[in-house]
């Protein structure tokens, strides 16, 4: 089972049939297509890459071309049940802003990101090189990633921003990691909500 498949199944498990779902940085739309097939969601994707827009349209999913760095102006508060950002948060400049926007337009947010503190990545740094792996496939000079953070960092940010962590799953490839996720897990998935009283 590929990682991507695993990621999709976790996300699908967090979503109820027929929900309204927004997928930010939706790529070619395959996650939304999967969620439409297994959860019959009313899905919309946001993407800004011209080729991916065409791929989404070809894939038959709803895609809206906007630049996410400009936020989600025009999207009503609380319109979506879930707002997803799958393996793209590390490529966003305005991390706090986009998390805020996700929890404004959605009841819950689902984010996944590569854990930069994964032991293989640490090993790479110890050996004197930036990590390159399955989940960090680019070289330092051509990576689309602009924010380099760990599971521990993200937990701290949630506390600081008053974001409730409803659920967190950590993986190494397709294996679930329970102990020492910040060291042992290459990817983390979070189900987030607005903190009560915030």
């Amino acid at each position: 089972m590929s990682f991507q498949r695993y990621d999709y199944d976790v996300i699908a498990n967090w979503i109820e049939p027929g929900e309204r779902v927004l997928d930010l940085g939706c790529g070619d739309g395959s996650l939304l297509r999967h969620l439409t097939e297994v959860r019959q969601v009313r899905g919309y994707g946001v993407e800004n890459d011209p080729e991916r827009i065409v791929a989404c349209v070809r894939n038959g999913i709803n895609v809206i071309q906007i630049n996410l760095d400009q936020g989600l102006a025009g999207f009503d508060d609380g319109f979506f049940d879930h707002v997803i950002m799958s393996l793209s948060l590390q490529a966003m400049h305005n991390t706090q802003g986009i998390l805020k926007e996700m929890l404004r337009v959605g009841r819950e947010a689902v984010v996944s990101f590569p854990n930069f503190a994964y032991w293989r990545h640490r090993q790479s740094i110890l050996n004197g090189h930036m990590p390159v792996s399955k989940n960090l496939p680019h070289q330092w000079y051509n990576t689309p990633n602009v924010r380099f953070f760990t599971i521990a960092d993200f937990d701290d940010l949630c506390v600081q921003e008053g974001i409730a962590i409803h659920e967190r799953l950590a993986f190494d490839e397709d294996r679930i990691i329970v102990d020492e996720p910040n060291f042992m897990a290459s990817v983390a998935l979070y189900r987030l909500g607005r903190q009560v009283g915030c």
């Binding site: 011209p50 989404c56 349209v57 709803n62 895609v63 809206i64 071309q65 906007i66 025009g74 999207f75």
Partner: protein, 373 residues
């Protein structure tokens, strides 16, 4: 003729004797519509696509007229193997009511007086056009369009189709359009109209009988329009500050190349387009506002719609800016309609919608290919 043309085409004419109640109040007792078709209506009659034209467009969407050699205004889109593939779809172009390309309009003869209608031709709206297009569809045995497609004012008709006849349209492709004009946009139309109305040869709209046309006013109107259809960059690229005499000669004759271009475009347009049609059509643009009866709530106005949508805008279009298309997109999304939106990076301003930018056509092709029959 571009590659993969539908070839030689000829317009057809349909007469409608059922009176048409108009949004402006009156009734048109009878009228003609001129139209063209490309491709074949299939046995299940479910492959028809209506292409709606903009301000100066016509029924001649694709192919070539044998006599004049005129190529259709959207020939790069419509044809065998093109994004709107006539091997698969039966495509229809209609000259809108009030037009000047053969459908009943101000330059047609008023049956009661035996003279041209002129200024007595009633105001027609986007909604009226959609009703007449639906009657043409009835005549051609088309219960439901697979898609209705249009750019600019044509996009307004495509949107209106999905609200007036929700069960008769599967998909709407709304390109370089807006849910209603802004004050600035109406302002441009008003200047264009004043140029025509103030031309001494306008004669209150009854210039036909005087054997003249308000050509200066119409040319000026077209010049203003043309400026707004191009982008600052594209105009700069094309003309810059090029001087005909290579240095200023201090004259009001043509010096800068842009002056030459605008005068040429204006005069050419005034040579074939009808001033009354221009007036009527700009007013139809100004009046279009599907949310008007819903206290300005576009989401509420779209509540009736059942179609799926593709909305497309162009980065350098400031007459129908991307932000206006996004208004349509968000309202559709908040009405739980299926909608995709592409913002094409194209330097040509509003006129981009008539070009064959590769990304633009790739999006259209991908969307149209997915239309199930």
């Amino acid at each position: 003729m571009t590659h993969n043309s539908v070839g030689i085409v000829a317009p057809q004419r349909a007469h409608f004797s059922e009176p048409l109640p108009l949004k402006s109040g009156g009734t048109l007792p009878a009228y003609d519509l001129v139209y063209e078709t490309y491709g074949r209506l299939n046995a299940s009659r479910n492959n028809a696509v209506l292409v709606c034209h903009a301000l100066s467009g016509s029924h001649h969407v694709a192919g070539v007229h044998a006599d004049s050699g005129a190529v259709g205004w959207w020939d790069n889109l419509v044809g065998p193997g093109k994004p709107l593939d006539t091997e698969r779809f039966f495509v229809i172009g209609v000259n809108n009511l009030g037009g000047c390309y053969g459908s009943t309009g101000p330059n047609s003869i008023h049956p009661a007086t035996g003279k041209p209608w002129g200024a007595d031709f009633p105001f027609v709206t986007v909604e009226d056009w959609v009703v007449t297009q639906a009657r043409l569809a009835d005549l051609l045995g088309i219960e439901r369009f697979a898609a209705v497609v249009g750019g600019s004012l044509g996009g307004m008709q495509a949107l209106s189709w999905t609200l007036q006849y929700p069960d008769r349209v599967g998909h709407a492709l709304v390109i370089a359009s807006a849910p209603k004009l802004t004050a600035q946009n109406i302002a441009f139309n008003e200047v264009a109209r004043q140029a025509i109305l103030k031309d001494p040869e306008f004669h209150g709209g009854h210039y036909y009988e005087q054997g003249v046309v308000p050509a200066r006013g119409l040319a000026l109107a077209r010049m203003i329009g043309h400026i707004t259809y191009l982008s600052d960059d594209s105009m700069d690229q094309k003309f810059g500050r090029s001087l005909r005499h290579e240095k200023p000669v201090f004259s009001y004759d043509v010096e800068f190349e842009i002056e030459s271009y605008l005068r040429y475009q204006g005069d050419r347009f005034a040579g074939f387009f009808d001033a009354n049609t221009y007036l009527l059509t700009t007013k139809a643009l100004d009046y279009y506002d599907p949310a008007f009866d819903y206290n300005g709530d576009l989401v509420a106005a779209l509540g009736r719609a059942k179609a799926d949508y593709l909305v497309v805008s162009f980065s350098t279009d400031w007459r129908f800016a991307p932000s206006r298309s996004r208004e349509i997109v968000y309202a559709l999304m908040h009405s739980d309609r299926r909608v995709s939106y592409a913002e094409i990076d194209c330097p040509a301003g509003h006129d981009s919608f008539l070009l064959d930018d590769p990304q633009y056509h790739a999006v259209l092709r991908a969307y149209i290919d997915n239309i199930r029959l």
